[in-house]
Symmetry: C2
Subunit: 356 residues, 2 copies
Amino acid sequence: MKHNYVVIMAGGIGSRFWPYSRANKPKQFLDVLGTGRTLLQMTFDRFLAICPEENFYVVTNKRYYDLVKEQLPTLSGDQILLEPVGRNTAAAVAYPAFKIRKKDPKAVMVVAPSDHVVFKESLFTQNLNTAIKAASNSEKLITIGIVPTRPETGYGYIQYHSSPLKKVKKVKTFTEKPELELAQKFVESGDFVWNAGIFVWSVETIIAALYEHLTDLAVIFEEGEEFYHTPNEQRFINSAYAQCKSISIDYGIMEKASNVFMVKGTFDWSDLGSWDSLHEIKAKDEQENVVDAKAILYNTKNSYVKGPKDTLIVVQDLDGYLVTLSDNVVLICKKDAEKKFREFLHDARVKGEEFS
Amino acid sequence: MKHNYVVIMAGGIGSRFWPYSRANKPKQFLDVLGTGRTLLQMTFDRFLAICPEENFYVVTNKRYYDLVKEQLPTLSGDQILLEPVGRNTAAAVAYPAFKIRKKDPKAVMVVAPSDHVVFKESLFTQNLNTAIKAASNSEKLITIGIVPTRPETGYGYIQYHSSPLKKVKKVKTFTEKPELELAQKFVESGDFVWNAGIFVWSVETIIAALYEHLTDLAVIFEEGEEFYHTPNEQRFINSAYAQCKSISIDYGIMEKASNVFMVKGTFDWSDLGSWDSLHEIKAKDEQENVVDAKAILYNTKNSYVKGPKDTLIVVQDLDGYLVTLSDNVVLICKKDAEKKFREFLHDARVKGEEFS
């Protein structure tokens, strides 16, 4: 286990939980499920079963340093990687890959989002250990695939070679956010899993892939070799990021590399990508409403009502809506309007930074 | 004009503008139209054309004394009549009738609600002067009738003898809140007007009617003769109200008396009885929305959005709704749900007095 490393991606701003999540406190830093632990903290807890605490790294935007420090107080400053600007996931993978390699060339690195939820954690641990084992003694880029439960058009789909006897399956294709019709076919075929953004690879393998497919990026972060784990690391990173292009690890590497494999995630998973998905996993009343507020509902169903306890929310005659009051924003919209949230947030920001 | 008296009824708590209007600040004390003057103040202003300032009386609940004093600072304490408890309109008419008679037995008294709006005020003045003239030299109980513009089921209807040459028409019947079908017939017939709660009569005539139809009430307030306009008035009133039954002037007198007449109101009028009626008279955007808030609307029409300026309200996919945030209450309901507001307010009060 001592060569196991976990890199938690915690730099996202997100918009789909606005106005509950805000630019200065995105979703991963919120106790979305009301468990007493934030999504970032729950992610951290989940990986403690497979990785020593000193091998955790959190990649985030520099503006969230205090939030990470506060929520994960046992991490040292060296374990919190601060991006001066967001440059998508390829940079956020390359930076820790080179940094970790300097400390431990034999490292196997797990990359994971900070804002998803997992149920049946022991299965999660099993699946990750399977992937880690496979990644540590081969040149495999491994992704954890989630068995689709609906023709979701917001996710990436991974087609794999069906090899019933193998736990680690060869990947055929990556397809980003398909149209509904295609998504339906994917789900029906049984050959596809969702890309959950959880990756496992040795630093050696991922760095080789970076050199092959994203050479510029590899060269930029290789130059940091002398600065990682030193007081000059941040200064180097600030200038390195200024040169990075913005590209995702999926598009930059996973879709192009030939050594991509998949381990099925047998745990229950949600990316909490929308109020709708949160509604799905929360306790509901008889009319299928989730009420997380002091509220009175009349003839209202399939809705999500969320607000602070000192405000009364009265709702009549709504079906499938989100009603939320958070600080200085009231939002009433279709519960499944996730594709509109970017627009909501953009337009809100035009009205005033204080609303974003 | 020196025998003209105006009695403004300002004791109502109301519920139909909740949560904007609250138990501690009902609608008449709010600047509902955003003109800079509250409805009470606008009512006062409107009557200045027909009544000297010293002949105004405001009847209200004792809890609203400070609000009346603040909004109508030129009134003396003697002009603000404080009801210890609400006892409907018959008591609120009898009290000032006896009080005014003591000061001026020749008084003609106009009774008017404090929370309606009138446009074309010069016509209003004309109509009132017609009624005042008729009331001052005859034993007529006169009501101002509003020509119906829709089959409203929330109002009382007055049927009158069509006498084209007479400005003061004899009333045949009063019908409280008819069913829709009946209301439609009333409107079509052309023989009916709405009862707007604006009454004109000499104190002599109304007191005679009180003795005839509500004898107990007349006897109670007659006993105050020695106390009106003295420091002991309030003490007397407190005990008088304890003995009063709760009955409306319409039911107690107007529906029973044979000397009831009507002067048509030729002005434009709204009782602002609901958000829907307020929506009707306010400026609307192209999608027929009234927006009195910092708000962003997507695919929303026929709706009313009201909130404080420091809060952003984002609304998507609503048709015909009221969305309002006021202090510690958010209300989202059908814009025409006026009949539900009593229930909303009751249920809100169960959640906490601070929400009512």
